[in-house]
């Protein structure tokens, strides 16, 4: 932040800055979210009632939690494609092991957390010690878990677990004024988000970002990179576990629960302006990305888009939104900074040597390059600041 504000000496431009903040990669997702929510409320005024809004937050909670987990992996420079399968596996574990026996809830919950942490550890070790690219390692894990789940269930639903276990995803504190009910999921999300913000500001959280930004410098500065990376995978697998617990309550047990969550999470994170390849991004924006995505789906429901081409409309809008976020990143770079990097270019992060002044897809001859004051002057979104 400090680098940026020193860039803006004029006090009269504060207002413009606020506008720019909203269209900046960091703010764009909030703007998008506001626009979508307003659009939904216009189509269907009852959505704006507090009771409905809180239900909306409840529904988004699992996705947002998964996106928060995915944020740490992505900002550390990797991907976790196994999250959806972890959700599915945990949902099935809960359904099959708890059954109708209330007493088993806590032991099985502990088992699920241990299982989640174990999957994350395996993912992390495969990526860091065996040097398998995370895209492939977690893709393999995704298929392995999915296969195991299918083998276990035969691909069909089993019974729901005891209602007491489902309460955390389905129930809440009832009889409140204004919002009627405060779902447990919303509380869980608030806690997870608070912990994530706190964690991202801790030295360890900053190390993750530093590692994603430039693995070489991070290593030279004494980071145990294998452990930092592995821990991001453990975080993401645990967040998927938590999402699984909420989803068992919200929806029930079915092998299709959690399907596609990894892509929803990655899309949400990218929508939140987090740069693929790591080193830049804000965890709150990632969570807001999840809200924006779900708001989009809800908007399509409210607008009555026929089921046959709903997916296509969703896809196009997501591409446009992400392209918009990418464009604003590029626009800002061209406008303020100096590295004329090709696009949002994750590769740029791994080679920050001063070679950045070459091919821009749309070079701007009218703008002579400034002398770079710092190499990463555009890095406003860095470091959970």
């Amino acid at each position: 932040m400090s680098a940026v504000s020193s860039d803006r000496p004029s006090l009269g431009r504060r207002l413009a800055d606020l506008g720019r903040m909203l269209v900046s990669p960091r703010g764009a997702v909030f703007l998008l979210l506001i626009v979508l929510l307003v659009a939904i409320a216009l189509l269907n005024p009852s959505f704006a009632e507090p009771g409905q809004l809180i239900r909306f937050v409840q529904r988004v909670s699992p996705v947002a939690i998964v996106a928060i987990g995915q944020y740490f992996v992505i900002v550390g420079g990797e991907f976790d494609l196994s999250m959806g399968s972890v959700v599915t596996a945990q949902v099935v574990i809960a359904g099959n092991l708890i059954g109708q026996d209330d007493a088993k809830s806590l032991p099985v919950l502990a088992l699920m957390l241990a299982f989640g942490a174990f999957i994350g550890l395996v993912n992390g070790l495969i990526v860091t010690l065996l040097k398998v690219p995370s895209f492939i390692a977690t893709l393999g894990m995704m298929l392995a878990l999915l296969g195991a789940t299918l083998y276990w269930t035969g691909g069909a639903a089993t019974g729901n677990p005891a209602d007491s276990f489902r309460e955390i995803g389905r129930g809440g504190i009832r009889d409140l004024p204004v919002i009627e009910i405060l779902p447990w999921s919303v509380l869980v999300l608030v806690i997870v988000l608070a912990v994530a913000i706190w964690f991202a500001r801790r030295p360890f959280g900053r190390t993750i970002i530093a590692l994603g930004d430039n693995a070489m410098t991070a290593r030279y500065s004494g980071t145990r990179s294998w452990w930092v990376k592995t821990s991001t995978f453990i975080i993401s697998a645990l967040s998927a576990t938590l999402a699984g617990v909420l989803l068992v309550g919200y929806a029930g047990v079915h092998p299709s629960v959690g399907r596609g969550y990894e892509f929803t999470a990655i899309t949400a994170v990218v929508l939140g302006g987090v740069v693929l390849g790591g080193g830049r991004g804000w965890v709150v924006a990632a969570a807001a990305g999840a809200f924006a995505l779900e708001a989009l789906f809800t908007l399509l429901n409210f607008a009555g888009v026929p089921s046959t081409y709903r997916d296509a409309v969703q896809g196009v809008i997501i591409i446009l939104a992400v392209a918009y976020a990418a464009t604003t990143i590029r626009a800002r770079r061209r406008g303020r900074a100096l590295e004329t990097s090709p696009g949002p270019a994750p590769t740029n992060d791994t080679s920050p040597a001063p070679v950045a002044k070459e091919p821009d897809p749309s070079p701007d001859p009218a703008r002579p390059a400034h002398i770079p004051s710092t190499q990463r002057a555009d890095n406003e979104t860095k470091g959970g600041s």
Partner: protein
């Protein structure tokens, strides 16, 4: 200047995004929904088949009274004397998948039926290949059976109609009996094609029920598993036509049977306005739909699910007004029995239409009691009560 321009262009982009969202969505509230609907209906709606199935619903099936899996409706028999031979035969079964509870239940029943026939010395063994919902895999499976299976009879439960037709024709060319069941193929070369009345009958049963219970202008949310499968598309094609004619406001969604998705859809629809009815093209996920009404704190809808135990139990527990349409699960017994008949030289129906009767409210208690300890994914009309291993095998639900 530059900077302002980029900011402005970004704004324009945002506006374009919004207008795009607006353009693609707004008009659909009215006219284009109907357009899309008629297109779909044109594709899947088949008046001739609709009328045939409509009529078959009222026919009293012939055949042994207490064995619905051997009953038939309006059958034309074919002679099978050329296949008559003694000794135990090897059956080769190309299965589309066991990836939903309906197919799993049937698969268990089929294996228990196999035991009976093995003990009777009619079938020596059944080699099964599971195509896991893939057309390509199933074509390869059938070709494998033709080349190296050493099969005496082919039993095929097609994954999809058009794609499987050539492979089924190749199986027919071997000169051995071919038995197709559940989904159909576009050839009449199989010795017999076994199926319940069909998707249009399901659609008519369910839509007529909802129309009778609801009033003109009421809202029905239709929850559909996935597009493109004929037995499912026909269910909706029939129901949609009837809803249209009766002035019921029906809107359909694809859910992939994902309960989270179902819950979101219902919550959104309830936020939009009252929902008086829920129509499902399969019972998988019915419980999530009902729970969405509970969570929103509104009255239960009039609802059609399926004879899956989870729905029957929730139906009973909530006391809602419902109907459980049935896509007769006991049809999984019939193919092996047909093979036995064919090798005995007995004639079999060319198109073996099995009875398909919904479970109305009066019969729910009976079916709940009959299947008391069965798991939620079990189907009430599975028809295996007289088979060995009943009820333990179905209660444990161990896939063979």
């Amino acid at each position: 200047m530059r900077r302002r321009f980029t900011v402005a262009s970004a704004m324009v982009g945002a506006l374009a995004l919004i207008t795009l969202a607006g353009c693609t969505t707004d008009p659909n509230v009215t006219a284009p929904t109907e357009d899309a609907a008629t297109e779909e209906a044109v594709e899947w709606f088949d008046q001739e088949l609709y009328d045939k199935q409509d009529a078959e619903r009222d026919v009293v099936p012939e055949g042994p009274e207490d064995q619905p899996w051997l009953q038939y409706i309006n059958a034309e028999f074919v002679d099978t004397s050329q296949y008559a031979s003694t000794g135990a035969k090897k059956a080769c079964f190309a299965n589309a998948s066991i990836s939903n509870p309906w197919r799993q239940t049937g698969w268990i029943t089929m294996n228990q039926q196999l035991q009976v026939l093995q003990e009777a010395g009619a079938i020596s063994e059944m080699e099964t290949r599971d195509a896991q919902d893939s057309d390509d895999t199933q074509i390869a499976d059938i070709d494998y059976f033709i080349e190296e299976g050493n099969c005496d009879v082919f039993i095929i439960s097609p994954n999809s109609t058009a794609a499987m037709t050539p492979a089924v024709e190749r199986a027919c060319e071997t000169g051995k009996p071919v038995i197709v069941f559940d989904r159909g193929v576009e050839t009449d070369c199989p010795t017999t094609f076994i199926h319940p009345i069909g998707g249009f009958a399901w659609g008519i049963d369910t839509a007529e029920f909802l129309i009778e219970e609801l009033e003109e202008g009421d809202k029905v949310v239709a929850l559909r598993i996935l597009p493109g499968v004929d037995v499912l598309e026909q269910r909706w094609a029939a129901a949609e036509k009837l809803f249209d004619e009766a002035g019921i406001d029906a809107v359909d969604y694809f859910t992939g049977a994902d309960p989270a998705e179902i819950k979101k859809i219902i919550s959104d629809e309830l936020a939009k306005g009252d929902v008086q009815g829920v129509w499902m093209d399969a019972g998988d996920g019915a419980v999530a739909a009902i729970e969405a009404f509970e969570d929103a704190g509104v009255d239960y809808p009039v609802m059609t699910g399926e004879d899956e135990m989870s729905f029957l139990r929730k139906w009973k527990e909530t006391g809602l007004t419902g109907l459980a349409p049935v896509y007769s699960n006991f049809q999984w017994r019939t193919p092996l029995l047909a093979a036995q008949m064919i090798f005995a030289g007995q004639q079999v129906p060319k198109e073996w239409v099995l009875p398909q009767e919904p479970i109305p409210a009066e019969e729910v208690d009976e079916y709940l009691a009959l299947n008391e300890n069965m798991p939620d994914g079990h189907y009430a009309k599975f028809g295996g009560e007289d088979l060995p291993g009943y009820p333990q095998v179905w209660e444990d639900r161990q896939m063979p």
